[in-house]
Amino acid sequence: MKKVEAIIRIFKLEDVKNALSAQGIHGMTITDVKGFGRQKGHTEMYRGTEYKVEFVPKVKIEVAVPDENLQAVLDTIMRTAQTGQIGDGKIFVSELRNTIRIRTGETGEQAI
């Protein structure tokens, strides 16, 4: 099993989620994060004092997938999260030793 972590634009979340469930991904976990990278932040001003906000709000999608679905999932995310503008985000793939469904105690791919 693999864990896919994708950091994407907030307003893309809905699309990505729908695309993933469309292809039978039953679950995922979302976290609100702040990103720092090529995409520059913005400037705010309070009583004449300017201040740069370098972090850009992003959302992180975590999905555990069976190895055979990996490529499909990556493609889907790529396709739906892309705008072509700097700041589209990243996908990180890592190995999962095990997965357990708390409710049933199922483990491994059944648990996903």
Partner: protein, 472 residues
């Protein structure tokens, strides 16, 4: 800690005690009090319209501090200190009220002879509160206004609350609560009461008053507190900012307002409440009240447009904080003038305040490098000074004939400006000196600042053991 506890103990003990004493006192006092109740000149009869307005205005002025100023200020600090700012405002609503009732009102408005300070006539509300006289219940009327003494005391008492609360903007996010409490007791007694007496209590600055003629170029006009409220608090705020020092990380680390929505709501409430503050200062529901109301409203409006407009021109964007700050600056500036100027000059005063206070809160502050966290000096000190002086320019007999038919303000050929300058200077010096001394003493005894660790973690947790928001 122990010091805190002791202090708190004393506070309460003294409240209860003070009250008890005077409750018992009340009995024997009856006779002498009598004297105070019916002084020559005779009291004016009650006008229920005037009284309705003054009571309403009193409520509005309290609303300015809580929730008004509390919202305005707390939105500007970081989340970890939001409660500490609210607490300063709210606690002062209690603290200053008790002081006002016990001795403050008397020191400010007791007697009129003494040019420097009031007398003991009204200690513990004696001569102000209702009394049983010659088999009748008597609620003392004011001699100059057609309202009860109590209404006058209440309305003025609300000013005694908000003035120290304004200062809190200067030392926000780092001041020790216990020290603030002691400081405000002393400041209210030793700074506010005297100045209030000078200007409104028949003291040395009272326009055309005898002692004013003698010492103060004929005195000054301060309709609702340009000197008493704004200069006194603004200048003291500057001293506080200088003596307590900068917040950790200021100015390198960004410290953006954590909740501008509160600040904007607070500003709106201040605007609304200020009608009570200024128009209420007519102490009657007459034409002067209406005129003051209009001047106040126009100045606030022009201030908001001017500050935001200036940002728009110079930085390409008008900000909410700018519009709010401008409105407040306009309100501060018109305060001393509100009962004496026409609507169009009010527009000009507001616009001027918007531009100048904007400058004071950005360039000026930056170049001097002091950390007046919420710009109590930049808005109230500078705006109040500007207002006091412009009152000397625009005050007109058209609104109130206070000078035997002769012109008043510079603009109509009068000489008021001199007295305004004297009053402004006097207030600056007095407030600055006394505040400086008080802070030095407190710094040596109690300490002004919370420990670094507490400042980092936030005052809410460390001074009050609470969190402002628990959203999860």
């Amino acid at each position: 800690m122990s010091c805190h506890r002791m202090l708190a103990g004393i506070l309460c003990a003294w409240t209860i005690f003070g009250a008890s004493v005077s409750v018992l006192g009340a009995q024997e006092e009856a006779a002498p009090a009598d004297a105070a109740v019916v002084p020559a000149p005779a009291p004016k009869p009650l006008d229920r319209g005037d009284n309705a307005w003054v009571l309403t205005a009193s409520a509005l002025v309290l609303m300015m501090t809580g929730p008004g100023l509390a919202m305005f200020y707390c939105g500007l600090v970081r989340k970890k200190n939001v409660l500490s700012v609210i607490m300063q405002c709210f606690f002062l609503m209690g603290l200053m009220t008790v002081i006002w009732g016990l001795w403050g009102y008397s020191l400010a408005f007791g007697g009129g002879a003494n040019p420097w300070i009031g007398n003991e006539d009204y200690l513990f509300m004696k001569g102000v509160q209702a009394e049983w006289q010659d088999g009748k219940s008597v609620i003392p009327q004011h001699t100059a206004y057609s309202i009860p003494m109590l209404s006058h005391m209440l309305f003025q008492g609300m000013f005694f609350i908000i003035t120290p609360a304004l200062i809190c903007g200067a030392f926000a996010e780092r001041m020790k609560f216990s020290t603030m409490v002691v400081f405000m007791i002393l400041w209210g007694t030793l700074v506010y009461c005297p100045i209030a007496h000078w200007v409104w209590g028949g003291g040395v600055l009272t326009y055309n008053g005898d002692s004013a003629k003698q010492y103060a170029m004929n005195g000054a006009l301060d309709f609702a507190g340009g000197t008493v409220v704004h200069i006194s608090s603004g200048v003291s705020a500057l001293i506080c900012a200088l003596l307590i020092g900068k917040r950790l990380g200021y100015p390198t680390e960004p410290m953006p307002p954590h909740n501008l929505t509160y600040t904007a709501f607070g500003a709106a409430l201040l605007w609304v409440g200020w009608f009570g503050f200024n128009a209420g200062s007519a102490l009657a529901a007459d034409g002067v009240a209406a005129s003051a109301f209009a001047a106040t409203h126009f100045s606030a409006a022009a201030g908001a447009l001017a500050w935001a407009g200036m940002e728009w021109i110079m930085r390409g964007k008008p900000t909410v904080l700018g519009a709010c700050s401008g409105a407040v600056a306009g309100l501060v500036c018109i305060t001393p003038a509100s009962g004496y100027v026409l609507p169009m000059p009010a527009l000009i005063m507001g616009a001027a305040a918007g531009v100048i206070c904007n400058f004071a809160c950005s360039s000026l502050k930056r170049s001097f490098g002091y950390d007046d966290s919420l710009d109590a000096f930049g808005v109230h000190g500078i705006g109040g000074t500007l207002g006091a002086l412009l009152t000397g320019v625009f005050a007109t007999r058209a609104v109130q004939d206070l000078n035997a038919g002769n012109p008043i303000g510079l603009f109509e050929g009068g000489s008021l400006l001199k007295g305004q300058a004297v009053a402004t200077l006097g207030t600056w010096v007095f407030a600055a000196v006394v505040t400086f001394i008080l802070l030095k003493v407190l710094d040596a005894t109690m300490g002004l600042r919370v420990p670094t660790q507490e400042e980092l973690q936030g005052l809410d947790l460390n001074e009050h053991g609470e969190e402002g928001y628990i959203f999860l």
